[in-house]
């Protein structure tokens, strides 16, 4: 049953062919069998999951069930879950049981979903390979010597390996789309403000956005229906109606104008990846779309701008982890400064410390204007590039990542790791939505096609991706790992 998409499972639950309990037990068993190899979960919440499954089955019997009632899901360990460990992949929060649910978690609970557990991630969502987790790296189910991508690597690997029908991730610079690409699944980063950030542990507040990770665009549409909407507890959440994202999935693509940013097909792009992406684009042409080259002239500056803005916000967001009210506290502090300095040095890993230091330095006196103010100006130019492009085309397409998944331990130097996000990071700076869909393989490692739309164009992205998945079967292919461990 783990071969099914979320949509197929929903139908099986609806028809009574499957109970939520059966389904939940099945996935829990799969997690138990293969979880240790992939290391994709930090916590498995079996007891609670079975309770939720039973409640869902009862609701279904009473006729009060919705489409997602009884649907097992996994949550990236960045979402606060009441009474359940919420570690954010960090030693700092290894002892933290959140006292409340994130708004998204609340919404999914209301929809009747079942939480299987909390997935592994780069510490505080800072990373592109899942190697910065306090709980150890996650393996890519397509090739256990490869990374799953990051920072939502646990969620991506778990979906790809059939340990859960779908999972939630967050994306600050590509953290949904890049691991989705590396693991051969579909992952959507919505428009900034579309999904509430309340209860999601902040990395960079003006960039963070939560989204669905699943087998297909249709699955993502169902999940986004449940996740999206205005939240009075998040000032940056947008008060704007939420359409039914499944309604337009089958709109025809004839006349769709696709732009290919020339900067996304330049130096550094693996030729095999480029080939797969161009083939995918030609599928859209066969569906009646027209394709033209466009330019996003400031693309090159997205990574530099991001590595000022994100660490600056992070350095401030992570100040609350001080060993006073929650989280790790060092033993026998000699005084207040010692309490702060040792608790934070012990609680945060290297990459988190690096980003805090970068952010602290660039915000400090004498550097602020040259770095922070400059980066924010460049951010406006980057957003303008997209807005200009969307004057001429409906969607942009390109690779989600310049290469397929790289080997574990391959990127030792932080900057070479950062450059991985060249095609995803500008999207967060501009706040637009983006989706990565499976579009082929290079040496049995998946390739992701990234599709970008203008602000609030999620329905269109899901429609375009769904139509692609009606014509291709890349998204249905499973790693051998998923079959072997069945």
């Amino acid at each position: 049953m783990h071969d099914k998409t979320l949509t197929q499972i929903a139908n099986a639950l609806g028809s009574g062919e499957l109970s939520s309990r059966e389904l939940t037990e099945h996935y829990l068993q799969r997690i138990q069998q293969s979880g240790a190899i992939l290391n994709s979960f930090i916590s498995v919440t079996a007891d609670q999951a079975l309770e939720q499954a039973d409640a869902a089955d009862q609701a279904r019997a009473k006729g009060t069930a919705g489409l997602l009632t009884g649907m097992p899901l996994a949550l990236k360990d960045i979402f606060c879950t009441q009474g359940i460990k919420t570690s954010c992949g960090s030693r700092m929060l290894d002892n933290f049981n959140a006292p409340y649910d994130a708004t998204v978690v609340e919404k999914l609970k209301t929809a009747g979903t079942v939480t299987l557990g909390k997935t592994n991630m780069d510490e505080f969502a800072m990373g592109s390979s899942n190697e910065s987790s306090y709980y150890g790296p996650v393996k890519n189910p397509w090739d256990l010597t490869a990374v799953p991508g990051g920072s939502s690597g646990g969620s991506a690997a778990a979906v790809a390996a059939g340990l859960t029908p779908a999972a939630l991730g967050t994306d600050t610079g590509g953290s949904i789309r890049q691991p989705a690409a590396f693991c051969g699944i579909t992952g959507l980063k919505p428009t900034y403000g579309r999904v509430s950030r309340y209860g999601i542990i902040a990395y960079a507040s003006s960039l963070d956005q939560a989204g669905p990770m699943a087998r297909s665009a249709e699955d993502c549409a169902h999940l986004l229906n449940a996740m999206a909407g205005h939240d009075g507890r998040d000032s940056t959440s947008v008060a704007r109606g939420v359409p039914d994202y499944t309604e337009t999935l089958n709109s025809p693509l004839s006349g769709l104008k696709i732009g290919l940013p020339k900067e996304y097909f330049g130096e550094g792009l693996d030729p095999e990846v480029e080939k797969a992406v161009r083939e995918a684009v030609s599928v859209f042409e066969s569906l009646g779309a027209t394709v033209r080259d466009v330019s996003l002239p400031h693309t090159h500056y997205a990574i530099p701008a991001y590595y000022v803005i994100a660490p600056a916000e992070a350095s401030s967001n992570l100040s609350r982890f001080d060993g006073v009210r929650f989280g790790h506290r060092c033993d026998n502090p000699s005084d207040l400064i010692d309490l702060y300095k040792r608790s934070r040095a012990e609680g945060f890993g290297d990459e988190v410390q690096r980003r805090i230091l970068i952010g602290t330095h660039t915000l400090s006196e004498g550097f602020f204007d040259a770095y922070y103010t400059k980066a924010q100006k460049v951010r406006r130019l980057i957003r303008q590039d997209f807005l200009d492009a969307f004057e001429d085309v409906d969607v942009l397409m390109g690779p989600a990542s310049p290469t397929p998944a790289f080997d574990l331990g391959a990127k030792k130097d932080p900057v070479s790791m950062y450059l991985q996000d060249i095609y995803t990071i500008a999207v967060n700076l501009a706040g637009i939505p983006g989706i990565s869909v499976p579009a082929g393989f290079v040496d049995r490692r998946p390739v992701g096609l990234q599709i970008l739309g203008t602000h609030f164009a999620e329905a269109q992205l899901l429609n375009v991706a769904h139509q692609f998945q009606q014509t291709t079967d890349w998204h249905l292919q499973r790693p051998d790992f998923a079959e072997e461990s069945a």
Partner: protein, 484 residues
């Protein structure tokens, strides 16, 4: 050398909202530690701030009251530093685009001179929690109930030249915020706190001297004392060949001195940047017009009206308009009795004296404005004389009756104005005092005026104080002069 003092004030006013500036937790004072610190106030992971509309409205009201420019767009920034009473490791404040721009406040000194003090800006921010230093096995306890209480920080220009001006400015701010009802202004509970920037310079020199910032000067009296000490310290230091260093100092009211805060050994670097969890606050003209139309009459306007329309002296007008409670009390007394000068005399004399003796605020006066107004009215319509009026006031103060009339009636204090009755008493006194009558008759005419006092006293005594003194005087003079 002649020295000139230059003073600027930063006043932190806690706004009287029900809930905190960024959360729905209560702002009530005096609750159990941490019982009013919600997830947002505690800075728990993942929580987010949402701005309280009342905090914005109150800041704008203040701005309108000091004729300030209100920012069409204001922005919240983060001020980053670590301290245990600051849960998030940053204070949400407004560094670059404050909600209230330049404005001004008029102050009146005891000598009736008025001065304009410019306000540089006022910005919204969140209050911190409290560190409790009682002994917890050598540890400090942190109570975060106060964390997130809305503050309006009002920053003046360095326009004050004496401790008296600084105190007058602080009082003016206090009266504006309490008039507006945007703060209870309770300095003892920390609702209003003040940091003072002080420097000195040789008289005539244009450039400012190096300033010291005195933290947490929390009463009108302390402001004067802290400045007096600090000015003397700086002058002595310079005259002895030393230099004032720019530093933060703490006022110690017990020793009446300021001292350097050595714990802040390093220069801070607050790394201000716009808070990404909050969006720009945009206010339109209609909103400002609406708030402007709701403004009460403010102290300066009241003072002006008391002088111009009611004919009070500048001093009376200033005292009576200083607090909203005082002004409202006075105006009610005036409304009931109809005579502004009498009302002013009674409120500042008998009433204020009694309140001061028992350390009561006018809001807690046992004598209501209506009661006092009626009492004054009874003096004005000659129902009672001045002496009896004081007795009636005491009666009201001690709750011996619910109204002036009731006490007048009960104590029989109604003035006797029946000429026949007074004449009878006068005849009796003249008959009983042959020696004094003889002296009167023998005296030089210009000395007789004084001598009549004895007879008035006797007649008043005979009437148990109820005779009308003017009437007694006139009739006595007639009768005595007839004996000449």
């Amino acid at each position: 050398m002649q020295w000139e003092t230059v003073i600027g004030l930063e006043v932190h006013v806690q706004l009287a909202t029900h809930s905190k500036i960024f959360s729905g937790a209560s702002t009530a004072f005096g609750a159990e530690p941490n019982s009013q610190a919600c997830a947002v106030d505690l800075g728990l992971p993942g929580v987010l701030p949402v701005l309280n509309e009342q905090a914005v409205a109150m800041a704008v009201q203040f701005g309108l009251a000091v004729h300030a420019d209100i920012a069409e767009v204001s922005v919240f920034d983060r001020k980053n530093y670590f301290y245990p009473d600051l849960p998030k490791g940053y204070q949400t404040s407004q560094m670059y685009h404050p909600i209230v721009g330049p404005g001004e406040v008029e102050i009146t000194l005891d000598d009736d001179t008025t001065h304009r003090i410019r306000i540089h800006h006022a910005h919204l921010e969140e209050d911190a929690g409290k560190s409790l230093h009682e002994d917890f096995h050598g540890m400090t306890g942190i109570d975060l109930n106060r964390a997130g209480t809305p503050l309006l920080e009002i920053v003046s220009e360095p326009d004050m030249r004496s401790a008296k001006e600084a105190a007058a400015y602080l009082k003016a701010i206090h009266s504006i915020v309490t008039y507006l009802g945007i703060s209870d202004g309770n300095m003892a509970e920390g609702s209003m706190r003040c940091d003072v920037n002080v420097s000195v310079r040789p008289k005539g020199q244009e450039a400012f001297g190096t300033r010291a910032e005195i933290k947490n000067v929390n009463s009108f009296r302390f402001v004067e004392r802290a400045i007096a000490f600090e000015v003397e310290r700086q002058i002595e230091l310079i005259e002895d060949g030393g230099k004032v260093v720019q530093e933060t100092r703490l006022f110690d009211p017990e020793r009446d001195e300021t001292r350097s805060m050595r714990t802040k050994e390093e220069a801070n670097d607050y790394r201000y940047f716009p808070c990404p969890d909050l969006l720009p606050v945009v206010l339109d003209q209609a909103y400002l017009d609406h708030l402007r139309s709701q403004l009460p009459e403010l102290p300066a306007e009241k003072r002006e009206r008391f002088q111009q329309a009611l004919g009070l002296s500048a001093y009376d007008a200033s005292v009576l308009s200083a607090s909203r409670d005082m002004a409202e009390y006075f105006e009610e007394v005036h409304r009931v009795c109809g005579d502004a000068k009498q009302a002013a005399n009674w409120v500042q004399g008998e009433l204020s004296g009694a309140l001061n003796r028992e350390n009561l605020s006018i809001a807690n006066s046992p004598v209501t404005a209506g009661q006092l107004g009626e009492l004054v009215q009874r003096v004005l319509d000659d129902t009672i004389n001045g002496k009896a009026a004081k007795e009636v006031f005491q009666g009201l103060w001690h709750g011996e009756g619910t109204s002036a009339d009731a006490i007048i009636e009960a104590k029989g204090l109604k003035q006797v104005t029946d000429t026949g009755a007074i004449e009878a008493m006068i005849d009796q006194v003249i008959a009983d005092s042959p020696a004094q009558v003889a002296q009167y008759c023998d005296a030089e005419p210009e000395k007789r005026g004084k001598m009549i006092g004895y007879f008035v006293g006797q007649v008043m005594k005979a009437s148990r104080g109820t005779a009308n003194p003017q009437q007694v005087n006139g009739l006595l003079k007639e009768k005595l002069d007839a004996l000449l």
